[in-house]
Amino acid sequence: MKRHMKKLGVLMAIAFLLSACEKDFLDRPPLDTVVSSNFYKTEADAMSALVAVYDVLGYQSTPGVSWAPFLTMSDILSDDSFAGGSDPNDGKDEDEFNTYNIPTENLIVHAIYLKNYTGIYRANLLMEKIVDIEASEDFKARIVGECKFLRAYFYLEQVRFFENIPLLTETIKGPSGYIQSQATPADVYNQIATDLIDAVNVLPANIPANEKGRISKWAASGLLARTYLFYNGVYGAQFTVNENTVDNSVVLGYLEDMITNSGHALFEDYSENFHISGEFGVESVFEVSHGDILPWWDWGYVRGGEGNLAAQMQGPRVTGSENWDRGWSFGTVNYKLVEDMGNDPRLDYTVLFQSELDGALVKGYQHTGYYSKKYSSDAEHWSTGGQFELNRTCNFRVIRFSDVLLMAAELGSPNAQDYLDRVRSRVGLESIPATADNIYNERRLELSLEGVRYFDVIRKGMSFASQQFTSVGLRGPDYIGDQVIFDVTFNNSTKGFLPIPQSEVDQMGGTFTQNTGY
């Protein structure tokens, strides 16, 4: 008996030693949280993931880094506006943009860079996950189309600002993939064009009211043209998409299709473009939504809210006014724009004059007496709840139909004269010949303070940019401060690109080359 017991014991011991190495024992998925590995399963999951990609369109700040609305920052880079802010230290990083003296450690530079890759990552991730999601092919195709559009949008912002950037069309799976090299601009632009043409082919033409904010095929066509004009202007090249050349005529074809078939048109009233009533209206080809549906309070995670920070930053520093309220006076408008627009009727809808303001106005840094009227702290866009600075409700019109008409004209449409006339007659201006110069100049008048100007100038070459962006001895009648703070000299050694953020260069240990001029 005793002997048997011993044997039994030995057997038990050996059996346990062998059997206990069960693999599953250590596999412990989370119980109370959803993780990426068990999320992407249903159509609803895919929609949530898609919303997270759209979410980045509204990002105008990077937590712990800086506020950096695309609109405000690109206009400060251009001759449309100055840095502004309450005092020179308030907008130190903004002022570095304004004076083209941008250190590689500039926080706004870093914030922009991080934001766009956040969007690219989310788009890439969803496109990887959609394959295994339980859904119809149509549903999947539309989501992929939207992801491609959004990825293209983020890449365009990124490559126009930074030129030499890593091109990632799938997510990085682990630390071994962290080290990347910069792609050639051509590779990036061709990827953008490929994505946009794919998007045009699968996205719907009509977006029903309950989906306003999602992308139509026309938005992709518009963005393709905007990308082409910049790429062709700066590099003198055409896109190569799937080994086919995409040139002026191909791009124009997309625009003509939109002009003819999309149903998009101009508002009768130019200013309708900047009112709530005009949101996702007939003129809006691509628009980013903002709002205060969930009133936001958290200054530590501004991104969680949906307010338009550009509007808050650009609003006048005025209190006690019934029409404007407590902005931060960034992006004060350059007198040059006021001069350039002259008697153009659109000036009154573009520039807010200090004489229009009631209440107590605090005049901050680089005070010119002019503010943006298109995106501002006006009463119509005040929030009904939450921290008022974080809940400005105006949507950002990224591509308007008037821009499409002007792009088509610029690309050599046989209807160029008609397109130019439509833009001008809408604001009561007479026809002028549709020459290249006139078409180009119309963009300045029609689209200023909408984040378009800087890239329109850069694409015309460095000597033109130097001529436009260098402004000395100009400050208008209502300025505050020495002339020297309004004098700006463009730095063409940078070719108009921002530096690659220093910390990114550092982390790559030599695989990144800093942009020229920095």
């Binding site: 030995v10 412990r28 989370p30 109370d32 949530s48 979410d55 009211a209």
Partner: protein, 1034 residues
């Protein structure tokens, strides 16, 4: 008399009983003496082997024992002497000489899954035994190691009852959780707060990687093995121990009194350009000493501990029941710790080849606490900052008619007698009447815990044993707090709704371990092989709820259901987690005559905390030792009778991060407005890093063990280098990755140092004494941080921001701030303090302001000039123990000390106006030549004199008389008449004296996290305690 009568009757009964079995009863008498000195030894236990029949020697060393014939062998044992077994062989008188057992190296140490004689141990293991713990009772198990174990730094986190001590073995080995692994009776437990220190038989600290490798992936911070008491064969002993202590504040800071306060406030206002708030001739109505107000006089501490232990050849057991309660010196029962424990350990020899046993403990812990080291809402920090002009209770009708009382009449805090606590209308922010703050504290934590294991052991063939052990650790943790309506000042108030918060958490861990051990000696070759597996799993779940408008008179009995709120603001939450480990391990030990010894360990650990890519890791170690003094070729070493060299190498892991960190959790804070609706989006919060693995610590240990003068002096000297690589941190990753970083294995830290522990023991003419010293010197260096900045920001202080920082090449969590260089004595000083370009370095400075150093020489004083201004971690820590026994008296002491570190003295809120200060403020600069260290006192600090600088840094060195004790044992000849075996009474004092130049309340400041050490935010100081206690064994 009647007692004796009973005794006689009882004896007759026993004798008659025994004699019915035996032919005759035999009585043996004799005397026990010290083999070296020839002095008699009282109190020696004399036991008839294999029975429960025994006695002890009297004061003259004499004994008399009636044998029961159960055995023919007597066993003589006494602490400090070698146990002697003698055959009676029919003798009636046996005189015995006991040999002093000074050779500590013959002691048995616990090495994990077994024990080993210290003589052949190849690793670095420190031991604290029951004698040390029972002689100087500690409140919590962890404190037993304080000052007694070289290389183990024990720092009380604060003086609050129940606050666990910070325990660091061989330095801070990680930027994450640096707590050691606790293993109680073979079971890995999350903490040792539940243990009754009186239940501990032995604590063994595995310090080097070679020893700790047997616990593999969880051992990198060292391992503390705790063995609880088990019974021994022989008579059944019932022991009752108790003590009662009174605690008082050991030190009061010298604060400004009302007159000084008013003078200084006027000066601060005047210097800052404000109107002076007080009439210079004003006479203060009150002069409140807030420290007197908050410190409780004679806060009680009480302990009762009953244990019964004994056994025979078949079964032994040890069982105990204990109660401990301690009220704090601040807040009394608002800061209180209570612990009840019940324990049963038993061993049963089922057959000669099968043993069965268990260790079972139930414990209940109740803890009420206040913020113990906090700039915000700390009771002590409020006491140090509140104005002396405010009375504890406001009774003046004129004052009570002021708006702050009248407008908040419904929210005023009153004491039990209805007196209204005073409200300051001067001191702002988080500084409030500390007595009122105490009154509204209600948080209480209750932990019910059952910890235990059962095991069986089969001897398969001679020398080969199989052991299977199944353990559980089950805990219920309840927390509740009630928030009454209150108004303490404009910022600290709750005037809306009362509320109650409750949470319940349940954790259960099970662990199943199986080991095969084979031990064999062939001639002088001794070896053993251990093979084992271990599997364990932890499951946890929690629920919490919150509800509003819960009217009550009794904050201790508030429940969610009591809500009267029609707005229904109730909230609920809850979650769950699970983790698992699976391990296999092997150990080989070998020695030849004890002269050459070798230990090799390999453990393979799998942890569910890591992804499939790196779920398993291997943890090897090797150790060798050489007993040089036994070599025949060794020349005579003179007084040195024992000399052993040890060397070991090993690799351990640390897996103390949260669950699922290799995965990425979906974050639902994304949103976008589509179709006029805010849709919720989801994307991963972090990118996943399937490659994360445990931190890996590699350590080399070189050591000498020495015995001198027949082992009267023994010493151990260790040198070690410990490199921990792959520290788990979230550090910045390239922006193009597109999401926030996951945990990754980045960074390295090195600890290297030396340890010395030495004891001198001697026995002369009835006087037995010993003195021990242990010291450790450790240098901590962060050797790598894999982010851009090569640094990690640490803890913050008050509103001033980060005060510690961890950076490559410097110790973990060093103090970080501006360096100062005196005080500007006049305008000329300011105007001649120039940048390289000739501009003023401090254009905003005035005479009396602090001169800051432009560390980077860029011509401006800014954030970039911050530098290392101190190190909170001591280089050198030590303990000195001493004991003297003479006749029936015993005396012992324990000194602890720490050196080479600094303390950030941040108990004053200089950022607020009207806060009180220590009298150090009176030494401020008042004109040229008055001070070069204390700046001008001003309310408008344009020069930012109060920014974090070396002016807050003080030398943290201290030596503390941790314990001093005097005991008396009632002579055994008196005791034997009342059937008591042993009775000792003692008085002791804790924290009697502290020698330090530190000006704050207490230089012993434990870690609140790895990055938050040595910052005094008004720390709850440790009490000075006087205890009276007694231990009776029946």
């Amino acid at each position: 008399m009647s007692k004796n009568l009973y005794k006689v009757l009882f004896a007759i009964f026993i004798i008659s009983l025994v004699s019915s079995f035996s032919l005759q009863a035999q009585t043996v008498t004799g005397n026990v003496k010290d083999g070296t000195t020839g002095f008699s030894i009282p109190g020696v236990s004399v036991l008839e082997m294999g029975t429960i029949n025994g006695t002890v020697t009297d004061i003259d060393g004499n004994f008399s024992l009636q044998l029961t014939q159960g055995s023919d062998t007597l066993e003589f044992s006494f602490m400090g002497y070698e146990t002697l077994s003698l055959a009676v062989g029919g003798r009636q008188v046996i005189d015995v000489l006991l040999k002093e057992d000074l050779l500590e190296l013959d002691e048995v140490v616990v090495i994990g899954y077994g024990t080993q004689k210290k003589k052949v141990v190849t690793g670095a293991i420190s031991t604290v035994n029951a004698e040390e713990i029972s002689k100087v009772p500690v409140l919590q198990a962890g404190q037993a190691m304080q000052g007694r174990t070289a290389g183990v730094q024990v720092t009380n986190q604060s003086g609050q009852p129940g606050d666990p001590p910070t325990i660091r073995i061989r330095g801070v080995g990680t930027t994450g959780n640096s707590d050691p692994l606790y293993v109680v009776d073979g079971l890995v437990v999350s903490n040792i707060e539940y243990l009754n220190p009186g239940d501990i038989e032995q604590m063994d600290v595995l310090k080097d990687a070679a020893s700790a490798a047997i616990y593999g992936a969880r051992a990198a911070n060292g391992v503390v093995l705790i063995t609880t008491k088990s019974g021994t064969k022989g008579s059944i002993n019932l022991t009752y121990s108790t003590y009662y202590g009174i605690q008082n504040a050991a030190k009061k800071l010298d604060m400004l009194n009302s007159n000084e306060y008013m003078m200084m406030m006027n000066e601060g206002a005047r210097n800052g350009g404000f109107t002076e708030p007080f009439n210079p001739n004003a006479v203060a109505e009150y002069d409140t000493d807030w420290q007197d107000a908050i410190f409780v006089q004679n806060a009680p501490m009480v302990s009762h501990d009953v244990s019964v232990a004994g056994g025979n050849d078949v079964a032994t057991f040890s069982s105990s029941l204990s109660y401990f309660s301690q009220e704090g010196i601040i807040g009394g029962d608002k800061s209180k710790f209570e612990r009840i424990t019940a324990r049963l350990n038993s061993r049963i020899k089922v057959t000669d080849w099968f043993n069965f046993g268990n260790n079972l403990t139930f414990s209940h812990v109740k803890r009420k606490g206040i913020a113990s080291n906090s700039s915000f809402n700390g009771v002590y920090s409020s006491a140090l900052n509140m104005e002396p002009l405010l009375p504890v209770f406001e009774q003046n009708p004129d004052s009570l008619a002021q708006p702050r009382y009248v407008n908040n009449a419904d929210y005023l805090i009153r004491n039990s007698e209805g007196l209204i606590y005073g409200l300051s209308n001067r001191v702002p922010g988080e500084v409030v009447n500390p007595m009122a703050l105490l009154e509204i504290q209600t948080g209480e934590t209750r932990v019910d815990k059952a910890v235990g294991n059962v095991f069986g052991e089969i001897e398969l063939i001679k020398g080969l044993k199989f052991k299977s052990s199944l353990g559980i650790d089950l805990a219920y943790v309840n927390y509740d707090s009630y928030r009454p309506l209150y108004y303490l000042n404009g910022a600290q108030k709750n005037i809306n709704k009362t509320s109650v918060y409750k949470s319940v958490e349940r954790y259960i861990t099970w662990q199943w371990e199986n080991t095969l051990i084979y031990t064999k000696s062939i001639k002088d070759h001794n070896f053993s092989i251990l093979l084992g597996t271990s599997a364990s799993e932890i499951n946890g779940e929690n629920l919490n709820g919150f509800n509003t408008m819960v009217p009550t008179d009794d904050p201790n009995n508030v429940y969610l259901d009591m809500s009267m709120d029609t707005a229904r603001e109730a909230q609920a939450g809850g979650g769950a987690f699970h983790e698992a480990w699976f391990s296999a391990f092997a150990r080989v030990t070998y020695d030849y005559k004890g002269k050459y010894a070798f230990t090799g360990i390999i453990r393979r650990d799998g942890s569910s905390k890591f992804g499939p890519n790196n779920r398993y890791g291997n943890f090897p170690s090797l150790g060798v030792s050489w007993l040089l003094s036994e070599e025949s070729f060794m020349p005579d070493l003179g007084a040195i009778n024992f000399l052993k060299l040890r060397a070991s190498w090993g690799i351990n892991g640390n897996d103390k991060i949260g669950s699922y960190q290799y995965l990425s959790v979906m974050d639902y804070s994304r949103a976008y407005i589509i179709g006029g609706t805010r849709l919720i989006g989801a994307s991963p919060r972090f990118i996943s890093n399937l490659d994360i693995r445990w931190e890996e610590s590699e350590q080399i240990d070189l050591a000498i063990d020495l015995g001198v003068f027949d082992d009267r002096l023994i010493a151990t000297f260790d040198y070690y280098i410990k490199n921990t690589n792959g520290l788990l941190e979230r550090v910045a990753i390239p922006g193009h990755v597109g999401n926030d970083p996951p945990y990754a294995n980045v960074g390295s830290v090195r600890n290297n140092g030396v340890e010395l522990s030495t004891t001198w023991r001697h026995y002369i003419k009835g006087l037995k004494y010993s003195i021990g010293f242990n010291g450790s010197y450790n240098i901590n260096t962060m050797t790598q941080i894999a982010n851009d900045e090569k640094s990690i920001q640490g803890a913050s202080w008050s509103v001033a921001g980060p005060v510690t920082r961890t950076e490559e090449g410097l110790p973990i969590a060093y103090f970080y701030g501006w360096e100062t260089n005196g005080i500007f004595q006049d305008m000329n000083d300011v105007n001649t303090y120039l940048a390289p370009n000739g501009e003023l370095l401090q254009p905003l400075a005035s005479p009396g302001d602090v001169r800051f150093v432009d560390i980077n020489g860029d011509g401006v004083i800014d954030d970039e000039d911050r530098t290392k201004i101190g190190n909170p971690t001591p280089d050198f820590t030590m303990g000195v123990t001493g004991s003297v026994e003479f006749k029936n008296f015993d005396f012992s002491f324990l000194l602890i000390g720490a050196f080479g570190h600094q303390i950030f003295n941040g108990s004053q809120r200089m950022d607020l106006q009207f806060t009180n200060s220590t009298t150090k403020l009176l030494d401020r600069w008042t004109g040229p030549g008055t001070s070069n260290t204390n700046p001008i006192y001003t309310w408008s600090d344009k020069n930012l004199n109060n920014r974090i600088s070396d002016l807050y840094i003080e030398n943290g060195d201290y030596v503390r008389v941790k314990n001093i004790q005097l005991g008396y044992s009632i002579p055994s000849n008196l005791l034997s008449k009342i059937k008591i075996k042993d009775w000792r009474i003692y008085v002791s004092a804790e924290n009697l004296l502290t020698f330090t130049s530190y000006t704050g309340a207490d230089p012993e400041i434990g870690a609140m996290s790895s990055f938050d050490i040595g910052i005094d935010r008004g720390i709850y100081p440790q009490a000075r305690t006087f205890r009276f206690g007694t231990t009776i064994t029946f």
